[in-house]
């Protein structure tokens, strides 16, 4: 997928000017956070669970080499295979090779952000294989040739009327006069269209919410059951995943599962939680003949031991974006790549570089909502600040911003001069603004006054008034 994070400002303006998107975001803003709040309130030990979840992930990351090898060993011993992929190219090639080995024509896909990250669909299409997304949201955006705009609700930027239009345009063999007004009708239609694809697919590709080292298992959660049909019906199951999904034990996974659904959708548990271990064994009633895990690095191992290691705790619940006022204003597409919101603002620069994604860690007020709801306590604002520090060190900020900052810093380190300047500014601006009490425009303050008035200073600085009070000896 081609990144457009570089044009974040223009993307954001487009999002702000899109009334349908704004309506959809308005619904999200009132929906997810409230459901999470209720779910968390019902679980008194939720805060304690966050600490446990964090320590499970921290422990795994500290010993990632050990658990990765243990995981591979257990996948192999249950009859599956692990394909190590350093880069998106290697991951795509591994998937293609598996698909070719069974002469696959149709591939069904459960939701996988790693597949999005490596641009798998385009690649398979270019190689004559038809990928079919089976998660309803992913299916919708696949039909519309759009990237996902949210981690767990990829089509959240759309209203149901737009989905109805898309279905009419794409499902041409169906009765043009059919009713597609209710969400239920849209679901039924997608189900009817997808059902035969499930049955004819040669390969099923899913993501993984967790990988379990002690058993060599992959775990997925869905609310639609599409993941189960994707991974059990075809002859071959490929798990597209990345290193940091690993946890040591099944018990660790269940701890994190208790955090995941509550943080994501406010459910206690997702409707379907499915553990896959290896291919079908003799005597099993169902399951694939082959079980492959494509394990992507793509820069993640380079984050280990550095200031961004904490980001690898992320369990992709989307709580950070659900609670982010910037995400709620501009929507996920503004971020210009696969990951959006606060987690995207930290992760995208590490995967694409600061030159491409430099805006993302800057487009935050550091309000701290994201960190306060993160189920594994990732200090997202702190890491966005780390990106800003790198940006500053590499002189990537606009020159006018840098010189403004250094001028201010120069004055701020000279208190006597600074107080004189503040007193001067108070007097001049206070006098100029004394009539209205505020400015509608002000030279050099256009970034402020373009969208809001600037309240005028009272007319004297605190320090000079204080000095006068000290001299006169009068108490307030």
């Amino acid at each position: 997928m081609l990144a457009t994070s570089r044009t974040f400002e223009a993307n954001a303006r487009a999002g702000l000017a899109n009334p349908t998107l704004q309506r959809a975001l308005g619904m999200m803003r009132s929906g997810f956070p409230e459901r999470r709040r209720v779910a968390v309130e019902r679980l008194p030990e939720f805060e304690a669970l966050r600490d446990i979840g964090k320590s499970i992930k921290d422990h795994t990351l500290e010993h990632l080499d050990f658990y990765l090898e243990l995981f591979e060993e257990n996948v192999l011993s249950s009859g599956g295979q692990v394909h190590w992929a350093r880069t998106p190219e290697e991951a795509r090639a591994a998937v293609l090779q598996i698909c070719r080995s069974v002469d696959a024509k149709i591939v069904t896909k459960g939701k996988s952000m790693i597949a999005e990250e490596v641009g798998l669909n385009e690649y398979l299409e270019q190689n004559g294989i038809a990928p079919v997304e089976t998660d309803l949201g992913e299916y919708i955006i696949q039909l519309r040739h759009e990237p996902p705009s949210h981690l767990i609700a990829p089509a959240i930027h759309l209203m149901k009327e737009q989905v109805a239009d898309t279905f009419r345009a794409e499902h041409r063999s169906l009765d043009p006069g059919r009713s597609l007004v209710e969400a239920r009708q849209l679901c039924d239609e997608a189900r009817a269209v997808l059902r035969p694809r499930f049955l004819t697919a040669d390969v099923g590709i899913t993501g993984a919410n967790f990988l379990v080292a002690e058993t060599g298992s992959s775990i997925i959660v869905t609310n639609e059951g599409n993941g189960d049909l994707t991974q059990t019906l075809p002859r071959v199951h490929i798990v597209m995943t990345s290193l940091e999904k690993l946890v040591p034990t099944l018990e660790d996974a269940t701890t994190l599962l208790r955090l995941l659904a509550r943080s994501a959708t406010g459910q206690e548990f997702s409707s379907y939680t499915t553990v896959s271990t290896g291919p079908r064994r003799p005597g099993d009633l169902d399951g694939p003949e082959q079980y492959h895990v494509v394990l992507l690095d793509n820069g993640r191992s380079a984050l280990l031991g550095g200031e961004f290691q904490d980001m690898l705790r992320c369990i992709r619940c989307a709580a950070c974006m659900n609670h982010c006022p910037v995400y709620a204003a501009v929507g996920g597409h503004a971020y210009g790549w696969v990951y959006s919101g606060p987690m995207g603002a930290v992760l995208t620069p590490s995967l694409l570089g600061l030159a491409e994604a430099g805006h993302l860690p800057n487009a935050s007020t550091f309000c701290g909502q994201c960190e306060s709801v993160c189920p594994v306590k990732i200090p997202l604002p702190k890491m966005m600040r780390h990106w800003r520090e790198r940006q500053f060190a590499e002189k990537l900020n606009p020159p006018v911003y840098r010189s403004g900052l250094s001028l201010w810093a120069w004055a701020a380190r000279r208190p006597a001069l600074y107080h004189a300047l503040v007193e001067l500014a108070s007097r001049v601006l206070g006098w100029l603004g004394s009539g209205r009490g505020r400015f509608r425009t002000l030279p050099l303050a256009n970034g402020w006054t373009a969208v809001r008035d600037l309240p005028a200073p009272e007319g004297r600085s605190f320090q000079s008034l204080w000095a006068e009070r000290q001299k006169s000896g009068v108490k307030h």
Binding site: N362, H419, G437, R452, H476
Partner: protein
Amino acid sequence: MRVALFVTCLVALFRPTIGFAAVKLLENEGCTVEVPRAQTCCGQPAYNSGDRATAKAIALQVLEAFEDYDYVVAPSGSCAGMIRVHYPELFADDPGVSTRVQQLAKRSWELVSFLVDICGMQAVSARWERHATYHDACSGLRELGIKDQPRRLLASVDGLRLKELPGAETCCGFGGTFCVKYPDISDKMVSDKAADIVATGYQSVLAGDLGCLLNIAGKLQRLGGRVQVRHVAEVLAGMTDEAPPIGAPR
């Protein structure tokens, strides 16, 4: 006890009334208030712009000016949070300064939480005939856990009726330099905040951070509304007659 007032750069320039309100409240609690001359800013603009060296230089300036007092109090959760939470992070790998900074951090407080949690203040003697709502500024709320303290004291203000603001904990879109770096996004956020405030139907909105207040007042005024904006300290100190609301004509 000897309390050093950290005035904050915005209060010093825009609204000294807040500083004097803080002094009055602290002196009423028996504090000896001093205002160290060598203060300018807490360094947050540099820190959040990724300029760690400048942030450290300014932090050292603050450390030297303030470390000899019993307490440091700022009428801002954002600046107090900078000293309390972020200074120790800045000097974590600097053993020479780290201990001193941690000592300073422990003794640095946001004004209202200091009054309630350290001075044990239960009520104020102030009168303000108003219907008002309250916005929880982000740093105070999430870095310092300030939520009940201002509400508790405001409840004791004679004549004041306080109504909860829906979305009170949602950022107003100020964010320091964010509001001028991304004015379109900031505008959307502060417009939503202004709409929530207007929807309460109340006459006034209060908060504990002047950055947010300038942003909210500026937006409300651009929209032509009549909601008045004040810092919580002005109300608690009974100083609402001494200055017009933020951005209102004198």
